[in-house]
Amino acid sequence: MKYGLFLGCNVPAVRPDVERAIRLSMPRLGAEMLDLEGSVCCPAFGSFPSADETASLAVSAWNFSIAEELGVPMVTQCGSCYSSLRMALEKLHENGVLREKVQGLLREKAGREFCGTASVRHIIDVLHNDIGIDRIRASIDRPVTGMSAVVQYPCHTLFPSEVVGFEESSGRPRMLRGLVEALGIEVRPYSRELQCCGGAGGFVKGSFAGASEFAFRKLRAVRAETDADLIVVSCITCLEHLDRMQAELAKKDPSFVPLPVFDYNQLLAVCMGFDPAEVASISTIPREAVVERIRGAGR
């Protein structure tokens, strides 16, 4: 299986340990991750999609043309990249006028072809549906024991399900749970499991107090209702935001004890025995204790 790894902006710049974890863990599962050389910002919803539709689709089509040249599906961890690319692809397929305009621009000004054969996958979809739980279970030496987690489903992989969905039901996603359980870690349900993290778009920047309270409610519910040792996400925004918001909450409320947050591929890479200094080294809430428990006790 070959894929084109779409990096976007935040993963390679802010959390390159996630990029490293993906680059190490996926080949171990038989998924070869090719570079999409020359790719650019997806574009983020707050950029070109908020200013000029033709420019926005031209940027997306630039990225598609690179993957089409390699003939591989694009894979992204970032929820926003995933959703932006999927929605753009949908528009380019539906709207012939815009498609031809964008095709013309790319051809005349850059010598690039957008044909429309590109496809965009989220990494949860690839892990669960292409690689499969059994193969993941077999890829680690010994399952983790005695630990539990809560999972954060990336909103951008759920809605609108017609365009971005790969779960059987967008109201009852289960794939990330299955992936975490495959490592031996139990997954605890809680009342706000399906509340999005609130970290994407302009909410945090435009209304910090409102966005903080929104995240705090979720985080308090995790603490009040579960005995989870960690939070598992599969989106760069969820990763950064839940990490940062727990630090904010702990500042305001010293009785709140924050939980370490892991991207799924980071957790997987640690379980596979890769060096945590490479695959899980950047965070606000310290992760060392949980990493040591995974690597040490019972293994």
Binding site: L7, C9, N10, P12, A13, V14, P16, D17, E19, R20, R23, D35, E37, G38, V40, C41, A44, F45, G46, S47, F48, P49, S50, A51, D52, E53, T54, A55, A58, V59, W62, S80, S83, L105, L106, K109, A110, G111, C155, H156, L158, F159, P160, S170, Q195, G199, A200, G201, G202, F203, G206, S207, A209, G210, A211, F214, A277, V279, S281, I282
Partner: protein, 169 residues
Amino acid sequence: MIDLSKVNAGLWREIVENCGDIRHCFTCSTCVAGCPAAEGSPPLFVRDLVRKILLGLEESLLDDETPWLCVTCSTCEEMCPMGVKPFEVCLAVRRWQARNDESFIPASVAEIFETGHTQPVDRVREKRRAVGLEEVPPTIAKFPEMLEKFRAVLRETDLVKNNDYMFRE
């Protein structure tokens, strides 16, 4: 009181290029119920944006910064019973605002024009080396000749043509 003699009755045609048909909206507020940014201050109520568009309340809409609070989660899009595509409405209002008042144009478009990215992916070399990665990722950051072509494409768009002072080489 809204004075309908002073509104722009054709406003909806200017804004909602590729959205669902917003005339189907009956203000049921499902788009508000599931919206994280409805907790903002001031809150984002997509149903209000739709009313303003349909009633032609141009001035009020041009003063309204709430579409920029949108989290982009698209829960509204999933839930809307009338297929109005509320998330697309948010983006369409942002674009209309950016066309009519350049102060709405997000700084990130100029960053992407300049570097291809919204983050300094080529200026975190030590951080990337420390985790065993190549110092500059194999995106456009590593291929300056591609960046030239990328900019050439964008230069042909209305956004860059009409606001060329914002876009540096």
